[in-house]
């Protein structure tokens, strides 16, 4: 039964721990549940110099129409800005209504509230409903459960509503080490 293995066991070069950072400014989104998505980001210091007069933010754009929104979020139904202070992080974000297309932008917000994006995620299309909705699919057009529908939220100019989020990030490299 025992035979001589044709290769040496795992090469030392293959054992390296994953990097703690990639030195890039980037932001990524994944859908997790109909009402939740996973967001991570990394701030490359070359792109985002420390400047006390600007805020580094992640801008989340939610849309339920066929329109394409721009970097400022124009035409998006909901815009969320989340201030970030650490070099990298991740969190789970609840979407404000059912079935939006979502994009995340990492950038800086000037004191004049002008947003300058430096990295963007892909667009992702969130589910149009939950597994429970499939038999009563009207629900997915009306909004499900406790999720806020745009009509229930104070609107700002341009038909969008705007939310400022908290900075509750978890460093994703800690997860890979099992620290959290």
């Amino acid at each position: 039964m025992q035979q001589k293995p044709p290769f040496e066991p795992l090469h030392p070069l293959d054992r390296a721990d994953p990097p703690l950072a990639y030195g890039l400014s980037r932001v990524g989104l994944l859908w997790q549940k109909p009402d939740w998505l996973f967001l991570y980001w990394e701030r490359g210091d070359q792109d985002l110099q420390e400047d006390p007069s600007v805020r580094v933010v992640i801008r989340l754009l939610f849309d339920s129409t066929e329109d394409i929104f721009d970097a400022q979020g124009r035409s998006a139904l909901c815009v969320q800005d989340r201030t970030v202070s650490s070099a990298k992080g991740s969190c789970y974000v609840q979407v404000p209504f059912v079935g939006p297309r979502v994009q995340a932008l990492l950038g800086v917000l000037s004191p004049q509230d002008v947003f300058y994006p430096v990295a963007s995620s892909c667009f992702i299309q969130m589910p149009f409903g939950t597994i429970q909705d499939d038999a009563h699919s009207e629900a997915c057009q009306q909004g499900v459960g406790s999720l806020a529908h745009p009509s229930q939220v104070d609107k700002v100019a341009g038909g969008s509503f705007f939310v400022h989020g908290s900075d509750a990030w978890i460093d994703w490299t800690k997860r890979q080490r099992g620290d959290t």
């Binding site: 290769f7 980037r26 409903g129």
Partner: protein
Amino acid sequence: MKTDRPCDLLMVLHAHLPFVRHPEYAYALEENWFYEAVTDTYLPLLKVFEELVEDGIPFSMTLSLSPTLCSMLDDPLLLSRCGSYLERLLLLCDREMHRTRSDAALHRLARYYADHYKTLYRLFHAKQGRLLPAFRGLQESGHLELITTAATHAFLPFVSEPKVRNAQISAAIEQHARFFGRPPAGFWLPECAYDESLTSLLVQNGICYSFLETHGLLNARPHPVSGVYAPVLHPDGIAFFGRDPDCSRQVWSAVDGYPGDPAYRDFYRDIGFDLPIEDIRPYIHPDGIRVQTGIKYHRVTGPHVDLASKALYDPVRALERVAEHARHFVYSRVEQSRALFSVMQQKPVMAALYDAELFGHWWFEGPSFLKQVCIELNRASLPVVLSTPTRFLQENPQRMVCRPSTSSWGHQGDAETWVNGKTDWIYPHVHAAEKTMVDCVQRYVDHPDPLIHRVLAQMGRELFLLQSSDWAFLIKNGTAAQYAVSRVQCHLARFLRLAGFLRQDPISMEWLQDLENRDFFMEKLDLGIFL
């Protein structure tokens, strides 16, 4: 000759294993997944299909064979080891015949297993271990429609770079055409994970249809008027069949499903765990770690019966239950089709989607059940016939145009099985690797040095292997979690080191050669798929 065909039944089996190949070890615990699946599922399915052909019983099924599985089924090292695995199993059967000689009931079961595994071993040898040409033969005779899935079963909505998504699809189709002589008409989305960004890529790659979990179709916009009982057409031009929940429940459900019947063989009670270690030492891990041997003498017995209290298995009684369950399954489909036909304007279709490994591996009697379903459907002029997606689409060109909903067949139909607190750390690394891959191919694809092309191709393989949805699944479920974490880390480390070479870091030729031989997968990887 049946003339009345109100309803088509699509039996779709998805066969997949992650790429597990460890030439560096004489015995790798995780390689057993492959040997067990060959022994428990792929050989028994092939045997059943060939028996149906010999008996002249018409049948049509759809079989999705993942590229990683095809690579393993075509790998001389793994096939040689699989042959040795079967030989060891036969030796264990002989030993069990001897050990149980004073216990008539156990001895009958030992003889049953000896006959069962000898039959499979003979089939394995008759095919010279090469099952892919046998499946291809069944495709050419019109009994199987073979389709593919993503190159390494990546959860495609989580692939951030569109060019890498395309590469996962395109590489799979190229490999499928090489193994089976023609490109596939259909594509199994890994984990039935769908989002709208995939449709145009599938269409560009010549795919005509795919499958979705039930709610992916039922939550589509606009809502499909025929529910899951008619395929819908996405505006990009690809058809989607929705999984029929009734067909699924009868086979999958832990509560109502057939495999939980008390007469069926119990999966967990195995002599690898029952017998004293000295009796089974040559048949388990060399370090004495107990493993499943495939010889299991007990039956399910009841819903809440603990392992120690299981009753002995009776193969004759189990086969009687198979016949009863097959009749029940067919009867249920007939009733369902009558109800559907009375309310639907168009011809209904029922898509029964299953993991292939359910049949034989988890549900020992599963292949016999499939055979019996085919026999039952052919017995009388029933209003249900087995068909294939391609045939159904050709015969029924009318389709409602819809945009299906983002969905998967994971728990609750969402993606939490693959992205959660235990696994979310994986994706920032995978996404960084995807971007690096695209950048490197764009920059170096025309480079004259063949070594650069070797490095790029190996980077592509390592990235693909890193993207496998299986690692997150195993980590989340806690089964082989440590192994899965090590695979993620290992493929990432290899990828980054190869990428480093392109930035002038030194590289060992011996290491590169070693890597090409270890991850012997997608040998002819065309870098153009990343462009």
